[in-house]
């Protein structure tokens, strides 16, 4: 199972490298840039300055033309022999290193030049200069460095500071983001560095502490380091062929089933409920279907929110609220069940008597079919638009008033209907506990209400790639997997429950089992709600 996960992640990483890095430049900017890197190695008695100059094609051409004695446009070895040292020395005044505000003298130790091929095989120039400055460090020394070479030309300008047996504090980078101008990050989210100066304090470390030479407060935060995209790149096949599609669907299904095994999707609730109410396979399947539909819709809804309201709502913040809703749902179901069973177990007859006194008469059955219809958001839309004849379109509303003014969410619609539907048109359970479709529906919804983040990411990935249809199928398969697992668990409980009944001695337990299960469901609802509240930050 883990393997599949990993394969998918690898696939997605490949996809990301295609999509997220559409332009790769030899140089971070255009081919006229001049890029510079300065590495300062600070030790107790000296500072070693590692200077790298990387010129793109056009400045390289101009540079070569300036020393091209034979005019062939090439940097011949005879022409470049003295070049690196001369160039390094001519750049030296632009590299200013100050110790306690007094300039330090830089001496050139080594220098070299190369002409790596750039665009179309045209040469670029890479000059390396090593300078050194000796100093006698006091208790605390203030070092500052500024690079004033090529001030106006665009280019990557980087300064890195490394401590060698000293402690340094300041605001600087400790590692090179461009690997000394050999690999420029080419993604959209990394701007070329523009570091022209740096200041820091140097404290010599006592001999005994030497082994623990440290760099303090290095505030170099690589913009690439805090990327956590393991899931942001779901689903992506290069080509959608039939076998690939089937495989993808199978993987989604299995993944969904796996997801059902993780805490939070109400396996126990389902089990407890079905056992308590003596459910049948039919109920388990119905439950599974409800969960599938709710989960799919939930993913779409959250996906839409993420797409269109991302500036206002952070989906992560929405999650605890949704799980709170889910928890309250479960709690409601549990309490409702408990009340029903309490009533029907004989202890509650007085409640019924009380109710009849109040004149609450039984209402006609609510139509499950009508609910199923109003679940479909598209359908609902049509409904709202054709306000003039919707009442004659064959849809029976449990309540006739103001039906056409409803343009709320489906959820609301449900509640609205169910609040008025006291009675079930299903036969009561064998033990007399009313086995209502509506509580089953509510249970299914609670199981699927909380969209699984990975499914959401799959959907968003699909939208990003303009493969919405594919994404929908995958999410559906995922939801089916989820529901399938829940259904299977439900069936297991049902069979296990039937096994129980074979032992006559357990009769008493069976009598109170429905109430126990209802209590259990309520407790789980409370637990989920509390957890969600703590997630929100209220608890």
């Amino acid at each position: 199972m883990k393997k599949i996960h990993r394969i998918i992640i690898i696939l997605l990483t490949l996809f990301v490298s295609f999509v997220f890095v559409p332009v790769a430049f030899a140089h971070p900017l255009g081919n006229f840039t001049i890029n510079q890197y300065v590495g300062l190695n600070v030790s107790r008695e000296k500072v070693v300055l590692d200077y790298v100059l990387d010129m793109a094609e056009i400045p390289t051409f101009q540079e070569i033309a300036a020393f091209d004695a034979n005019g062939n446009g090439q940097a011949d070895p005879s022409e470049t022999a003295g070049y690196p040292a001369d160039k390094c020395n001519s750049l030296r005044p632009d590299l200013r290193l100050l110790l306690n505000n007094r300039p330090l003298n830089l001496t050139l130790t080594t220098s070299s030049v190369e002409f790596p091929a750039g665009v179309g095989g045209l040469p670029t120039l890479r000059l390396t200069c090593k300078f050194q400055a000796a100093y006698t460090s006091e208790e605390i020394s203030q070092l500052s460095f500024s690079n004033n070479a090529f001030p106006e030309r665009l280019g990557w300008k980087e300064i890195v500071v490394v401590a060698d047996n000293v402690s340094i504090t300041g605001n600087f980078a400790g590692t090179s983001l461009s690997n000394r101008l050999t690999k420029y990050p080419a993604d959209l989210l990394t701007s070329p560095l523009d570091q022209r100066q740096v200041e820091f304090e140097v404290t010599p470390i006592a001999l005994s502490e030497r082994s623990e030479s440290s760099v303090v407060a290095t505030t170099s935060t690589s913009p690439l380091a805090d990327r956590n995209d393991a899931f942001t790149r779901l689903i992506l096949l290069e080509e959608i062929t039939l076998p690939a599609l089937l495989l993808a669907l199978a993987i989604s299904f299995i993944w969904g089933a796996m997801h059902a095994m993780t805490p939070g999707h109400g396996k126990t609730i389902v089990g407890a409920y079905l056992v308590g109410s003596r459910g049948t396979i039919k109920h388990a399947v119905y439950l599974g279907l409800t969960t599938t539909i709710t989960h799919t819709l939930g993913v779409f809804a959250l996906g839409l929110i993420t797409l269109f309201a991302a500036q206002f709502i952070v989906p992560e913040k929405l999650y605890p609220w949704m799980s709170l809703l889910s928890g309250l749902f479960v709690l409601g179901i549990g309490l409702n069940l408990f009340a029903d069973r309490f009533r029907s177990s004989g202890l509650g007859t007085w409640i019924q008597a009380f109710k009849t006194k109040l004149g609450r008469s039984p209402r006609p059955y609510s139509l499950v079919l009508a609910h199923a219809h109003s679940k479909d958001p598209v359908h609902q839309h049509k409904y709202v638009l054709n306000t003039s004849h919707e009442h004659h379109e064959g849809h029976i509303h449990a309540h006739g008033h103001e039906g056409h003014h409803h343009d709320h969410t489906d959820e609301h619609h449900h509640d609205h209907n169910h609040d008025h539907a006291d009675h079930s048109h299903l036969p009561p359970g064998a033990d007399g506990a009313p086995f209502t479709w509506r509580s089953l529906l509510a249970l299914g919804i609670s199981g699927g209400l909380l969209p699984c983040p990975s499914a959401l990411v799959v959907l968003l990935g699909a939208i990003a790639l303009n493969r919405i249809g594919f994404g929908l199928i995958l999410v559906l398969a995922f939801s089916l997997g989820l529901a399938g697992a829940l259904t299977a668990i439900g069936m297991m409980f049902i069979y296990a429950g039937r096994l129980f009944e074979r032992f006559p001695s357990q009769g008493k337990i069976i009598r109170i089992l429905p109430m126990l299960s209802a209590l259990f469901v309520s407790l789980i609802g409370v637990a989920i709600s509390i957890k969600a509240l703590s997630g929100i930050g209220i608890f």
């Binding site: 332009v23 081919n31 006229f32 106006e152 665009l154 805090d226 797409l307 939208i463």
Partner: protein
């Protein structure tokens, strides 16, 4: 108590008025800018483009599905490209905007910006197609409409461009629309109207507080127009104002180089061009600098600049960049690779039939000794009645080669009347040719 309040209020109003006047002296009562008084201090509040880019990169890193942030990032990359002259920023803009459109298909602002990035890279057909699609699905996107007009203009469909610009001008006479109406007037040979519209655009931009670069661009364009009608001094004041508003603005530096060269201050001209080139080595800057070196007897320096232009041409061939026409004109002007010049100019004319495309091809034909072909294309270039000295000079030289001396004299006279400093290389030649023609006639 009430009295004191009234006095305070009056004082407050006066203070605001005084403040706004002190700020508004850069713009006169008619809303036109006074170049000398412009410094752009009132524009300081907009953050530099690089800072803005970083903050939106952070936002996207936190929420990688944020299509709106991607759109703004794309917009900022376009701004960066304009400010720095670095064409590769347009590619980044395209990538960011495509990302936005992937996340949120049909998002009109991203579509319109993507079209403008295509346009800036001279992918006119692509820009036109995308902008039309955006505009059809969302007719409120005036920015898309502007791009449609621009693309038509660049492709030489002047009538369609004019219809669109005028329609836009009726509903929203913002600086961008005014600048385009001005350009249209310029092409139609009405420099006075063009200048008035453009100065209005610059004044509006200055008052409404756009980015420094955008205000500097309007001022630069005013400078260009003054230069093109031969008002060199006025042109210089606008270029200077542009440079004050936006420090190190490469286009304004090059403009000042052009002005100083026209005034015969070659050392200053060289210094300005060198500054512009140290920021971004654009081929037209390098060529102009080379020309001044030639004029001041420094052929080695000149050759170095010319060779760099050719080198950029080579790179442009590899990168398919946007300098084809500039290169064709450079080759023709300097009698270099004339066959290549003709090839480039004709290839460009294939996809883009605007008047400067015809002019470039005509001039390349002329340099290749094909005067009849040159004349046919030159007539097309002048069909709109554009009063551009360079066009008249080209037409005059072509007429001369075809033996039509009267026509040639008229054209050359026109060229020198419009702008006696139209070219460092050719203004003198135009004068001497005209002198010989006039001398021949009086004989």
């Amino acid at each position: 108590m009430n009295k004191r309040k009234t006095i305070l209020l009056l004082f407050f109003i006066l203070a605001i008025l005084a403040y706004s006047r002190s700020n508004g002296s850069a713009v006169d009562a008619a809303g036109l800018p006074n170049a000398q008084d412009i410094n752009g201090d009132a524009l300081a509040s907009i953050p530099p483009v690089n800072d803005a880019i970083k903050s939106f990169q952070d936002r996207i890193r936190r929420n990688p599905k944020d299509a709106v942030s991607y759109t703004i990032l794309g917009d900022l990359y376009i701004r960066q490209a304009r400010e720095t002259g670095d064409v590769s920023s347009y590619q980044r803009a395209e990538a960011a905007l495509s990302q936005a459109l992937d996340l949120l298909p049909g998002y009109a602002p991203a579509g319109a910006l993507l079209a403008s990035a295509h346009y800036a890279q001279h992918n006119f057909d692509q820009a036109l197609e995308l902008a039309e699609r955006v505009y059809e699905s969302n007719p409120k996107t005036t920015s898309a409409q502007v791009i449609i007009g621009d693309a038509y203009l660049s492709l030489g469909n002047y009538e369609q461009a004019e219809t669109i610009y005028q329609e836009l001008g009726k509903t929203e006479a913002t600086p961008p629309v005014l600048a385009r109406l001005a350009h249209l007037e310029e092409l139609k040979g009405n420099p006075k109207e063009a200048l008035h519209l453009l100065r209005r655009a610059a004044g509006d931009a200055l008052r409404s507080g756009g980015t420094r670069e955008s205000v500097a661009w309007y001022l630069l364009r005013v400078g260009d127009m003054y230069f093109n009608i031969g008002e060199i001094k006025e042109s210089g004041t606008y270029y200077e104002a542009s440079l004050r508003v936006f420090e190190n603005y490469h286009l304004a530096l090059a403009g000042l180089g052009k002005v100083r060269a026209a005034q015969g201050k070659y050392d200053e001209a060289i210094a300005y061009y060198q500054r512009a080139i140290s920021i971004v080595p654009q081929p037209d800057f390098l060529a102009a600098l080379g020309d001044i070196y030639m004029l001041t007897n420094q052929p080695d320096e000149a050759q170095l600049q010319y060779k760099t232009v050719e080198y950029i041409g080579k790179l442009a061939g590899i990168n398919k960049q946007i300098y084809n026409r500039q290169l064709a004109n450079f080759y023709s002007d300097h009698d270099l690779h004339l066959k290549e010049a003709l090839r480039l100019a004709l290839a460009e004319l294939e996809s883009r039939k605007d008047l400067y495309g015809y002019d470039a091809a005509a001039w390349a034909y002329y340099k290749n000794g094909k005067f009849e072909e040159a004349r046919v294309l030159m007539d097309q270039a002048m069909a709109l009645g554009t009063r551009d000295a360079r066009l008249f000079y080209h037409a005059g030289m072509i007429a001369l080669q075809l033996g039509d001396e009267a026509q040639a004299r008229e054209y050359l006279e026109q060229a020198l009347t419009i702008n006696p400093h139209f070219s460092v290389l050719y203004a003198d030649e135009a004068r001497t040719t005209l002198d010989t023609l006039q001398a021949a006639e009086t004989k």
